[in-house]
Symmetry: C2
Subunit: 118 residues, 2 copies
Amino acid sequence: MSNEKADAPFAYHGLDRVFHEKARLGIVSSLVTQAKGLAFSELKALVGLTDGNLSRHLQVLEEAGFIAIQKGFEGKRPVTHCTLTALGRNQFLDYLDVLEEVLRTASVAREVTPDSIP
Amino acid sequence: MSNEKADAPFAYHGLDRVFHEKARLGIVSSLVTQAKGLAFSELKALVGLTDGNLSRHLQVLEEAGFIAIQKGFEGKRPVTHCTLTALGRNQFLDYLDVLEEVLRTASVAREVTPDSIP
């Protein structure tokens, strides 16, 4: 990848792959407005993933330092609780800035008449 | 994946993986406003990929029917020319709609004060 250029206008280097993956984008979007975080079961309902897939993506986010996972109990029932870290929040806001730029650039396309497309 | 739910609000099923991959997002964003398409070398400069990576991603887009690739000559020099198809354009505009929804939902996060985040 050493030949790939950092200054190419459509390289979108700011689209961090940790956030840009569809399932993780759903997870972090779910968490970002929840200061107290969400239980695993709540997250699961919001993002529509299987237990296994949700666990796998949460692990990627935890390893990046973007979320914190606490295992505890509610009464006798084991509960896994997930919160976005300050790092995760800040990096995600940066990611959203790049996403906005992508949309701004591409939305010019709406003004191009379909007739001019082969 | 049969246990994954279609109606989960943060599942973002509309984020077509063909477009959502970072490099391909750059390629299609480059092409979407170019009714006459772009030469391989022009695309390469815009997206900052190596020849091999650019070829690989163009192939994925061509197999999806989203771009057309014409090989020809400019004088004696072989030229590969890429254009977005009508299908590719329409599907990409749908993808942008979902991306806008992601941004609308997540941008509420900007109004949450960092102090309220652990």
